[in-house]
């Protein structure tokens, strides 16, 4: 019996620790929810290299893409956007390709080889990290973090 007592005591402390963890896990996260969902929107568009993005009409993300001589600019760029807000991809290309937007559901646009920009607009309804990919060149243009 003497060995049993401290043992049960230790079990209890361990259990209490688990309970605390569980409480901490649930409690702290719910308090974070409100602040975290609002905060990232502000610094979002500062990541974008193009200044023109911020001057376009409110809450619309414009991504400029140039394809010239097999080179894509930008590649693997990072953007932030809000769900359900329009995203415009403006492409200048000297070659035909397919633009794939890996959202749920997916979007596909045909890029033509021509002078001057071609614009493709879509919205993403389900939050997530959405890759925009040039299919034939097999390059990821950008990843849009849709909150």
């Amino acid at each position: 019996m003497t060995t049993l007592n401290p043992r049960t005591l230790q079990t209890l402390t361990a259990l209490a620790a688990v309970a605390l963890i569980a409480a901490g896990c649930g409690g702290s996260t719910t308090s974070e929810t409100s602040s975290s969902s609002g905060a990232p929107a502000a610094p979002a568009s500062t990541d974008a290299p193009q200044l023109s993005d911020q001057q376009t009409p409110p809450s619309r993300l414009v991504i400029d893409v140039t394809i010239k001589g097999g080179e894509v600019n930008p590649t693997n760029a990072q953007f932030d956007a809000k769900a359900k807000e329009p995203i415009v991809v403006r492409v200048n290309s000297d070659v035909a390709d397919e633009l794939h937007v890996h959202s749920n559901p997916e979007h596909t646009f045909n890029v033509e080889a021509k002078d001057g920009p071609q614009s493709f607009q879509f919205t993403v309804d389900v939050p997530g990290k959405v890759d925009i990919e040039l299919h034939h060149l097999n390059k990821t243009v950008a990843t849009v973090t849709v909150q």
Binding site: R7, Q10, T11, T13, A14, A17, V18, I21, G24, C25, G26, S28, T29, T30, E32, T33, S36, S37, P40, T75, N76, A77, Q78, H100, H102, S103, N104, P105, E106, V124, V126, P127, G128, K129, V130, D131, E133, H135, N138, K139, T140, T143, T145, V146, Q147
Partner: protein, 445 residues
Amino acid sequence: MIEGRSTAVLAHGLGGSADLPIPYTYALIGAAWALTFTFAVVALAWRKPRFDPAKPGRPLPARLTTVVDAPATRWAVAVAALLFAAWVAVAAVFGPQNGQNPLLGVFYVLLWVGLVALSLAIGPVWRALSPVRTLYRLTPLSRRPPPNQYPRRLGYWPAALGLFAFVWLELASPDPGSLAAVKIWLVLYLAVTLAGTFVFGGRWCARADPFEVYGVAVSRLSPLRRNPDGRIAIGNPFDHLTSMPVRPGTVAVLAVLLGSTAFDSFSAMPQWRNFVDAHSGGLPLGAVAIRTVGLLVFASVVGVTFHLAARATGGVDGATRRRLPGLMAHSLIPIVIGYVFAHYLTYLVERGQQTVIQLADPLGPGWNALGLGDAQVSYVLSMHPSVLATLKVCFVLGGHIAGVIAAHDRALWLLPKRHQVTGQLAMMLVMVGYTFTGLYLLFGG
């Protein structure tokens, strides 16, 4: 190749978006708790081992065991699984050769992630479902002793190789979304597993079938188990966990699973993608080579750090020290499960729905065979990012805590009294390292 080209999709060959990164604060809170709990376990928790693989669980009604073990049940389940496999095969060959084909979802979601969830919930189901085992049982060969003994020293190495082949296809191959590639992989898997089974009998499935080894390893954390008398019982998963047999290659299997999941997060980082683009020389094979090396490095780092940490203790002789990594390996299982769920839960829930809807109409003419043709995928997790982030941190943390507890308890069994605290320090640090890395990758770097 042409069919692959027209359907090529990025991550995991399934297309669609990936999960949002978890917020910074979540990662910090998770990391802080991981550290606190690890310290608490080493310093304060029990000093005598308390998990015993021989301790029987609380037996469930005998009728359950009778029903589960009845040949009629076994055959019904096996034949149903075989028919399902045939259904998927028909869809794969005759269905639409694009992203609408259910094969990709069945392969990457239902098989790879669904099997983990099912094995954790009710036990090693792949043994009952495996089409290879069913086919083998249908031949007269299965009623004779196998022509050869499975070499003991191979252990789980063939399965580790098979699992690596799977994650290679998913994360390093030129086009994981290519139906042709998945079909080739599956045909090779069937050929190797069937041939091995005919030569070595059912033991080949138990040791070398990647899905069975994965499922059985995961099922060690299931609350449901069998008592020594064969009766189905419910008990402490930690008692069950220690029953994981020690065989060559056990650590390799778990290292491939944990390393590949981490590599999956890592390979979405823009820095890594830029690196691959810059060094592949524009050749598809160059990118494949770099990703293959990356995958190998991740699996090796997990395997080697775990191996060294398990051996880093004083007061044991050389023979014992060599056995330590295998004897500690079961403590990696909860970490693998926690990280797999943190990483693939959205896939299981959302792409799983999509796959089932696609399966209802395998050939694409709008059959609506299961009455699901009009069903829409409910993006229940993606639409609630903070719930999802909380779940992810809790999975990683839960896996870490369970791993640390299992490792602590086993260390008390194995290590001499004087080295029980210092001897497990390296292991605890390595586990904290895994968890920090996991949270960092989920946070997105």
